[in-house]
Every structure is written in C-alpha cells, then in structure tokens.
C-alpha cells in the first residue's frame, strides 16, 4: 500500500439515499435497492443514464433465499446493460462497497458509480439468526451447534476481563446510540433507555443481553460516487474519499487474542496512511465505528486508534464520544439504534458521515466543526476490517 503522488483525480461521494430500516418490509429486495438508489440519484441530481458502473453489496444469500443474489438485485440496483459487480466481506461489506467504488473511479475505468448495499433478513424462517448456523467451519465448529451471539459474547467477556470494563460501563454505548437514533428518520430501535434497562433485558448469552444487540433488520442504503471533475459539476460540497483500508484475518478466531481487533488496526493504518493522517485520535473529528453490539463500538474505537487499547470504556463514561463530546461516535445512532441489515448498515454509517461533513445531518449534527471522518465495518468470524476515511 503506497501513496500515489501522481494521482490527480480524487474520488468523491456526491449523493446518498436510505430506506427506513424495518424488522420486516413489504418491499422485495429489488424494491428496497431501487428506493435507496433512486433517493441517492435524486440527491445528486443524476439519473440512471448518467451512471457508468454499479457496485452492489449484500451479505449472506441465505437470508433472502436466493442464489446469485447480486444477479437478482441487479435490475433494482440499476444494472441494466451496465458493468455490475458484487463484493462481499460479510458484515464488512457496508463500508467495503464504497471502497470498491473508489478503485472503479481512481483507476479511470468508471466516472460515476452507483453504490448499493441491501439486506432483507426477514424472509428467513423460523428466525433469521438460524442462517448464521452456516457461517461456521463445517467440521471443527458446526457440530458444537454454535449461535452467532456466542462469538460476540466470548469477545466481550475477554474484553471485560482484560480491560477491567464492567457490563454497566459497556451498556452506556447502547444507551448513547439508541438515544442518538431518536433523531434518525430510518431508525428501528431508537429509544430513551437507561443502563438498568439494558442489564435487566433478557440474557441471551452471558454477558450479552438483548439490549446489547442490534436487531434483525431489512433495509437498503445507496451512495453516488464520482471522479473529482464530475463531483465539482454536481455539487459545491463533495465529500472526498481520502483513504481506504481493508484486511481479512485468518479464520481460526479461537487461535487469537480476542480483546483487540488487530485486523481492524491493520486496515485502519492502511487507510490513514493513504489519507495522510498520522494521529487519528487528534485529527478525526467524527467517527462511525461499527456497533452490532455495544462493546464492539469500544473494540473498534480502539482498533481505529481513536482511543488507546482498553481505554475506550473509560472515555464513554466521561461523555467523550457523545454528540457534544470531543470525538462523537455513531451520531447516527449506529446499528444499535437505527438497525442492522447486515450489508446496508455499514453504508448507512458512511451516508451519515456524508451528511455530517456537509452539515446536513439536522438534529443529529455533532456540535463541533467537522473536517475529517472515519467509518469502519466488521465481518466474518472476527476477521474483516474495512475502513474508509472521508473529508470535506
């Protein structure tokens, strides 16, 4: 990974769109993709004819009950007689799709790219979570009958043991995010809750309670990304993609220290280096770290070097990451507050930073002035770290 000083054309995000995030939607997956795509195109003042390439992100095909899911979503995502590709790194896909669009444009192959992330989890019977049975190694892990929440619980327990964090400290993240989400029009699980509510909710896999987890969700998010020249014609306030980073760790998560996500750290370093950021904890103004579970936001804040390892849980207590704090995180409300349609969640976070950097986030706008932002997503068996650095 090296900085290319000859690259004159930058890549920008010029539009974003979102559907409501729902527990179960009436719309089909293609309709969800279309709604988000249409909104993104409208916001950029473009039509489908203007688009050169389409990049789709969607996680396990098994949720929708489709094989070749990308092909199925193609027409809803505008890929009629266009180059279309589907990239996939599990939950990391949400942030990875705009990263992939970055090299579509920076390579000179495409000028205007429509980025769509969609997920419809509700078709899965009897409960979408059962689909996660198939992510495990068929021989060494599946016979033990694992549930996806086990792996997060194990990581949370390790983080608590190594860093001295308690459940009530970690629950503050859920409280913060669900409250932030009250101002988000797409939010599914926004609420004004207390730490007590979290601790009293159903214990799924100790130490994880129901309110520590983001919900099963249907939804779609879309972005329009273009080269610099095109961006300047479309808008006075393009949001630049300064850095991208992505890493996939090995599959043997039980051979690794779970208290710190080094795969995310590698991806973050890659993105920061490309963006020319040397002290992220000082230079980043707002962040959207991936938060499928409350402790995961802390884990990722540390992986992104926005706080030192094992320090993030202390800073939450001080309000450091609140919207009016020093380094606001998840001002959107994150996955905990808005919802977690696996692939679309990450793109929702990128869309949020897009609006924050243009001062268009309305009631969710963070208090301090914003110039540089970072979003990350996570995926697979504690493996995928995808990071994107944006600026205005």
């Amino acid at each position: 990974m090296r900085s290319n000083i000859f690259m004159k054309d930058r890549v920008a995000i010029v539009g974003a769109g979102l559907t409501t995030f729902m527990r179960r939607a009436l719309e089909t997956p293609r309709e969800l993709a279309w709604e988000a795509a249409k909104m993104a195109l409208d916001s950029a003042g473009l039509t489908l004819k203007d688009i050169d390439c389409v990049v789709i992100g969607s996680a396990p095909d098994t949720f929708d009950g489709m094989h070749f899911k990308g092909e199925y979503l193609a027409d809803g995502s505008g890929a009629i007689n266009k180059p279309m590709t589907r990239v996939y790194v599990g939950g990391g896909t949400g942030v990875f799709v705009p990263e992939s669009a970055y090299w579509h444009i920076a390579s000179g192959v495409c000028k205007k790219v429509l980025v769509i992330a969609e997920e419809k989890m509700s078709p899965a019977h009897p409960h979408p979570q059962y689909v996660f049975k198939y992510i495990w190694d068929p021989i060494i892990e599946r016979p033990l009958g694992p549930n996806l929440i086990w792996i997060f619980a194990m990581e949370m327990r390790r983080y608590m043991a190594k860093c001295g964090a308690k459940k009530e400290d970690i629950a503050l993240v859920s409280v913060k995010n669900k409250r932030n989400a009250l101002d988000h029009p797409a939010a599914l699980t926004a609420a004004n809750i207390t730490v007590d509510d979290v601790l009293k909710s159903e214990t799924l896999v100790w130490p994880v309670n129901l309110l520590d987890v983001s919900p099963v969700t249907d939804g779609a998010a879309a972005l329009v990304m273009t080269s610099e020249n095109v961006a300047r014609e479309i808008t006075d306030t393009p949001v630049w993609v300064d850095g991208i980073g992505f890493t996939l760790e090995n599959q043997h998560w039980y051979n690794r220290e779970l208290a710190f996500p080094r795969y995310l750290n590698h991806a973050a370093r890659m993105a920061y280096k490309m963006a020319g950021i040397e002290r992220p904890w000082k230079e980043i103004d707002v962040a959207e770290p991936y938060d499928p579970f409350d402790y995961k936001e802390l884990h990722h804040i540390e992986g992104l070097m926005l706080a030192r390892p094992c320090e993030a849980w202390k800073l939450v207590k001080e309000g450091y990451f609140n919207r009016d704090g020093e380094l606001p995180t998840s001002p959107s409300g994150g996955l905990l507050g808005v919802g977690n349609p696996i692939a679309a969640a990450g793109t929702m976070k990128v869309a949020e930073l897009f609006w924050q950097l243009r001062y268009e986030a309305g009631k969710r706008q963070v208090k301090k002035p914003v110039h540089k932002a970072v979003a990350n997503a996570w995926g697979d068996l504690m493996q995928a770290g995808t990071v994107i650095v944006l600026s205005n």
Binding site: N4, G65, G70, D75, N81, V89, A106, S107, Y134, H266
Partner: protein, 388 residues
C-alpha cells in the same frame, strides 16, 4: 497521467485439479496448491510481495454462508488486504486490473475455485437462483431450460442449424484430447451427436458442459513490476464486464442474443483503445452450451453477425483454421468449475500466449480474447483482451 498509462500484466499462474472429483483434498488445500504454484511461477512470496488478494466465490456453491471467511489463509492473504467478489473469476481479474491502475497496488493475486463434486443437490442450487415469486413455483424439471430458449431464438435469428451446434461439440471434445486438463474430451463424430437424444432441446448431452473441480490462481502486476518479475508477461490490454438484466427481470433480456457479451467487449476494447474487431489470433470463449460459442463470437464482434456457423462449417475455428476457437477444448471437454470457469478460459489463453500449452499449442499467437458468462439464469458476461 503517467500511472494511468502503465499496463497491467499477468506474471504468473497456477492451477490444481480439473478432475470430476477431488475427494482426497479439501477445497482449501486446493486453493493452497494452486496459489503456491502461481506464486512460485511468478517467483514471489505472497506474504511480502502481494498487495491485495481477490477471491471469487459464491456462498451457495461453497455450502458456507460468508464464504470469504475461508479465503485468506490458503492464498496467502491472512491479515492482508483480501476480499471476495461474488462473481466469475474474470470479474475478479477486472477488480485486480482496477486496483493496479489506481497506482496504490503493484501486485495483486486473484483466485477462484469450484468444487461442484461436493454439491449433492446441484440442480436445486440452480433452481434456487431463479426468481422466487414468478419462476420457481412453475415446477419444471430442469432449470437450465433458459439455455434452450436462447438456443432456439439464436438459431431462428441467424439461420444456424442444429448440426452447427453439434459441430461445436465435435470440435471441442476432439480438441480436448490433447489437453491434460480436459477430463471430458472424447473422440467424437458428428453422427454420434446427431443420433443422441436431446437433453435440453436443441442440445444433447455432448453439447452441455459437465462439471469438474479445480482451483486457479493468477498473479497480476503493473508494468514496472511485471517487467521485473518475468520475461514473458501477458498484458491485459482491456477488460470488461456487464450485466444485461437481473435474474428476476428476464423481460429485459433479448432472447437469442447475449448483450452482456457485447457490452463487456465494448468496455474491454475501449480500455484497449480499439474500435470494433480486436484482430486476435485465437480466442477461448464460453461454450458451456454449444450454441453459446457461436453467439459469443458474434457478440464480441470477432465475427460478423450470423456468420459464425458458416465459418465453423468451413473449418475456420479449427486448431489449424483461420481463427482457432477453444483450442483447449473449451468447457465442453474441461468441464465448468462454477465461478472459476472464466479463469479456466483465461488460463488456457495465458498458456497459449506464453508458449506453455504443450500438445495443443498454437503457433505464432500474440493476441487472444477470453469471454466468459456466469451461466443460467444470469445475464452477466466478462471479456478480456490479452497480448504479448
């Protein structure tokens, strides 16, 4: 603009398998074997010299939700920039091409594999790709009927006869006899084909590619690195991919044509700064259904519309003909390896251009075309233009 003008070349390739079953080896071990061979042929250490790793897989072929979990370790991508493209291997090559053209990545590896022998319910997986609301409930026997529909429409439009489709199978199955990767080649006469029962009208079993297991890895590099790493890089002059429509919206598809091949070819030729016919010496094109070889040649503009079957009859596409097509025997004799099929075609073209095609080596070939399709029920195709 200096970096954008730099070419992208293939500096190494490796493969493992190309057999109907590979029961003694797990899919990950196959990935390790093919990637180890590729890195060795490029003389690089993937842990230090490769900047990004692209893997091409589809969940439902693998039997594992989130198949990219098992991708990094065997291809050398653990804790490195690795990702999965849910598409054909040639789409992965397109990503690698773009990554290198950004100037931020110098060497990128692309792997894809298929292990259809492990899928016990292959037909059902195909069925699972059909539109769940409008097509799946129709309760037909074989989901590959889409190919038959396109074949019939193609024949009507171009005047190609049933015999021409059979001739493709005869040419390819016989070509494969000299290719160690063609497990399904056989000495075939035209009357054997014409006297067989139809499998999917208007094609017999000879004209529908069977399945085989394989893993294939390629190493790509920018011009500077390519020249350092090897004496005979194969340049990717252009690459394109396109989707005509989604699998739930077949009403947009023009039956008897494959617009996605045409759009992909146009994209590839534009990147190669060409107008129209790319003037290649040979081509490895999609032939998992016999008629598709002829259609692909016309849509990629290698031959004029409705001319392919006439040229085939004259022998122009034979190994000793004017424009050898699928000298390797194509998928009809090598089998299809699911998403790795595009890389199989690319591998055969790469071996031709580097003089390593052994018994089926063509003479004096410097430019080649590769065209691949994702198969029923998709309308997505990929085209790559290569030269040395």
């Amino acid at each position: 603009m200096g970096v954008l003008m730099s070419r992208v070349g293939i500096v190494g390739a490796g493969w493992y398998g190309f057999k109907p079953t590979t029961i003694d080896i797990s899919f990950q071990d196959m990935m390790f074997e093919s990637s180890a061979r590729a890195y060795s042929s490029a003389k690089i250490d993937p842990r230090y010299d490769v900047d990004a790793f692209v893997d091409c897989q589809e969940d439902m072929w693998e039997g594992i939700a989130i198949a990219d979990e098992f991708a990094p370790e065997p291809i050398g991508g653990a804790l490195r920039p690795t990702f999965t493209v849910a598409g054909d291997g040639l789409e992965g090559i397109a990503h690698a091409y773009m990554l290198i053209k950004t100037g931020h990545f110098n060497v990128v590896s692309v792997e894809s594999h298929g292990k259809p022998s492990e899928i016990k319910t292959l037909q059902d997986i195909y069925r699972f790709a059909l539109d769940p609301l409008h097509v799946r409930p129709l309760d037909y026997v074989n989901p590959l009927f889409y190919a038959g529909l396109d074949a019939v429409a193609y024949m009507k439009r171009t005047g190609a006869k049933r015999e021409h489709l059979a001739m493709v199978a005869v040419k390819n199955k016989n070509n494969g006899l000299s290719n160690e990767r063609a497990s399904f080649s056989t000495k075939l006469d035209l009357d054997y084909v014409l006297s067989s029962n139809y499998s999917i009208y208007p094609m017999t079993n000879y004209e529908i590619a069977p399945f085989s297991d394989a893993s294939i890895t390629f190493v790509l590099a920018n011009e500077e690195y390519a020249k350092k790493l090897t004496d005979n890089p194969v340049w990717i002059d252009g690459i394109g991919y396109s989707t005509e429509t989604g699998t739930g919206a077949t009403e947009w598809h023009e039956w008897g044509k494959m617009k996605s091949f045409r759009n992909a070819a146009i994209m590839a030729y534009k990147l190669a700064n060409l107008n129209g016919n790319p003037q290649v010496d040979f081509a490895e094109v999609e032939d998992r259904f016999s008629f598709m070889e002829l259609l692909a040649l016309e849509e990629t503009m290698l031959v004029k519309e409705s001319e392919a079957h006439k040229m085939l009859e004259k022998g122009d596409f034979n190994r000793d003909g004017y424009l050898p097509i699928n000298p390797s025997g194509g998928s009809l004799s090598m089998g299809i390896q699911l998403e790795a099929t595009g890389l199989s075609r690319l591998l055969e073209a790469y071996l031709q251009l580097t003089g390593k095609a052994g018994n089926h080596q063509l003479k004096n070939v410097r430019r080649g075309l590769v065209a691949s399709w994702r198969g029923v029920p998709t309308y997505t195709s990929m085209v790559a233009l290569l030269s040395v």
